[in-house]
């Protein structure tokens, strides 16, 4: 009798975690509304959406599987170049481009994931960094194909699915990007709340224990790395399609570092961290950058140090939690 209850309770608990909180509905409705309500900010919002997708892909690695990657831009940039070259040489329809970029980046992720399986955090940090640096060098040297430091231009952006034009139409482009992000977010949420997703968290928490209860660690890690790479590649392709130039900044270290920062600021392990972090980062950069560009670096460094000191996993929210927790405990004393 008791066993049945426990199983039912467990299933109910898991189902509840997977359910959508009303705040989430509100958020996505708000995002959809912004297509119509905030026309002057569409370019910025498009960038936030793309970085969010990129950050979510890193969250899959970092927040759920525990792989620290300093080179995730390798897949972002690779996807962007593939999408651009595909559009220039074959077919300029954007959704097809996304699929091709996603598959290509996923394959690259699959192959390189084998290098990331072994070793400690530091080893993985170094290997992912090394992979990204090698990819950067390749993109730079093959400038006959990629345009190198001058960039790759002349990419055609046909109407989406044949009828929805996005080239030079900020509102349409934003709507397109938002739809893609939502779809991929939805899929990511399903992945994360599936048995596969839970097995990843087990591996992150204690790899030895996870493998001892039968989880095939390596296979799971390879799978999540491939998915994360594919997502990053699609994000890169989106950026290529909305900015008619692909350059080495898509694949450089700064790109990998920035997305890691955004994810950290927003918090890892709950998917929204990537979105919140990107929004905060880009908006702050826009305002601080307009006032004093040189100070931006100092304050972002300062923010990181503060978050690292006081936060656990929830980025900026941990500071809020700390403060409210402290206030609550003070109030409790009569």
């Amino acid at each position: 009798m008791n066993t049945v209850n426990t199983v039912q309770q467990a299933v109910a608990a898991l189902k509840q975690k997977r359910a959508w909180h009303w705040l989430e509905y509100l958020f996505w409705l708000g995002a959809a509304a912004s297509v119509f309500l905030l026309p002057s900010q569409h370019a910025l919002l498009t960038q936030i959406a793309i970085w969010s997708l990129f950050a979510i892909s890193l969250d899959l690695l970092l927040g759920y599987a525990g792989i620290v990657s300093l080179g995730h831009a390798a897949y972002f940039g690779f996807g962007a170049y593939v999408a651009a070259l595909f559009a220039i040489n074959f077919y300029g329809e954007p959704v097809t481009g996304l699929l091709v970029a996603g598959i290509a980046a996923g394959l690259l992720g699959l192959v390189t994931s084998l290098l990331v399986l072994r070793g400690t955090d530091l080893t993985r940090l170094m290997v992912t960094l090394g992979i990204a640096l090698v990819m950067y060098e390749i993109a730079n040297q093959m400038s006959w194909l990629t345009g190198g430091a001058d960039g790759l231009t002349g990419m055609p952006v046909n109407p989406v699915l044949g009828f929805f034009p996005i080239y030079f139409m900020a509102a349409n482009a934003y709507a397109y990007v938002l739809v893609v992000c939502f779809v991929l977010f939805f899929v990511a949420k399903r992945i994360v709340h599936s048995p596969f997703g839970y097995s990843l968290r087990a591996i992150k928490g204690n790899p030895l224990r996870a493998s001892s209860i039968g989880i095939p660690n390596n296979r799971r890690l390879i799978a999540v790395y491939t998915i994360a790479a594919a997502y990053a590649g699609i994000a890169g392709a989106l950026l290529a399609q909305t900015t008619p130039v692909v350059s080495l900044t898509y694949i450089d270290f700064q790109r990998s570092a920035d997305v890691l920062l955004m994810l950290i600021i927003g918090g890892t392990g709950y998917l929204y961290g990537g979105i919140i972090g990107s929004a905060l980062f880009l908006v702050a950069q826009k305002f601080i950058g307009n006032v004093t560009p040189q100070y931006w670096e100092f304050w972002i460094g300062f923010a990181l140090v503060v978050i690292a000191l006081f936060a656990r996993d929830r980025g900026v929210f941990s500071i809020y939690e700390r403060i409210s927790g402290a206030l609550r405990s003070r109030k409790a004393k009569p």
């Binding site: 640096l133 270290f253 100092f298 460094g301 990181l304 690292a308």
Partner: protein
């Protein structure tokens, strides 16, 4: 080409002097300190200011650069780093990258973003011929100073009480504490010395590597390569790794300039995949 060998060794030793502090920190405290390059940069700028603005002789500025970086390291360790010893590697990465950004921004603000060069005394410039091998005077100096440092480090580690305490703490922190060794003090001192060495390396390397506010991020990859390939359980590991990388990088670029840039990254990836604990570490990964 013996000259290439000589150049590679000089370059490698420079990397070693800067990176050995990182190796010990990582091995001892299991702390990923990506801000290590910032201490090297601070030492370099210290020497720059002393030599170019106050006319201090170059050789006198070196120990000052060491002390300057060591002092900052000590203060940073006791106030900030100490909170992160038990935290996850990701948080350590966050914290140290944040530190690097702050230090880079401060240096940019106070000293400008242009590259800086230390005015070297005349007798250190140029080169001479030694049995047909061209020897750069400054590079020779680097090799001599670095060799001296390596010997001193080995002596300290092997023959002093502090050295044995350090080695004990690296091998097994808990047991070392249990034996009454003041591990916190060992940490602090080691960290400070590591930063001091980085500062000294920065001052020595300013001539070859060039000083500018983004120095820490530009060269971080090289220091990390030395440490991850060399392993963190000894001094000789990173030392041999630096020499190997220095020669490999230089030789790769000489014989195959088009692909020279890839050599160093490829070596690193291959080594890390085959032996994740480093090429020269003993035993299993911690």
């Amino acid at each position: 080409m013996l000259t290439i060998l000589f150049d590679g060794i000089a370059y490698g030793m420079l990397l070693f002097v800067i990176a050995c502090g990182l190796a010990v920190t990582l091995g001892l405290m299991n702390f990923v300190n990506l801000a290590h390059g910032a201490f090297a940069m601070l030492g370099g700028y210290c020497a720059y200011v002393l030599v170019n603005f106050y006319g201090v002789p170059f050789f006198a500025s070196l120990p000052v650069a060491f002390m300057f970086a060591a002092m900052i390291g000590l203060v940073a360790e006791r106030t900030l780093y100490v909170h992160f010893y038990s935290r996850s590697h990701l948080e350590q990465v966050m914290f140290t990258i944040g530190l690097v950004f702050m230090v880079s921004a401060l240096v940019d603000y106070f000293l400008g973003s242009q590259q800086r060069f230390i005015n070297l005394p005349g007798y250190l410039q140029g080169r001479f011929d030694f049995f047909g091998v061209g020897i750069g005077k400054y590079r020779l100096l680097i090799i001599l100073v670095c060799a001296l440092i390596v010997i001193v480090l080995q002596l300290i580690l092997g023959y002093t009480r502090f050295g044995s305490r350090l080695r004990a703490a690296v091998d097994d922190q808990r047991v070392a504490r249990g034996l009454g060794i003041n591990v916190n003090w060992v940490f602090a001192l080691t960290f400070a010395v590591g930063c001091g060495l980085a500062g000294l390396g920065g001052a020595l390397g300013a001539e070859i590597l060039s000083l500018e506010p983004h120095f820490p991020l530009k060269f971080m990859i090289y220091f990390l390569i030395v440490v991850s390939v060399g392993g963190t359980s000894s001094i000789t590991g990173p030392f041999l790794a630096s020499i190997l990388l220095g020669i490999g990088d230089v030789a790769g670029k000489y014989y195959a300039p088009r692909y020279g840039g890839f050599v160093i990254y490829t070596i690193m990836i291959v080594v890390l995949v085959l032996r994740p604990q480093g090429l020269f570490a003993r035993g299993t990964a911690k």
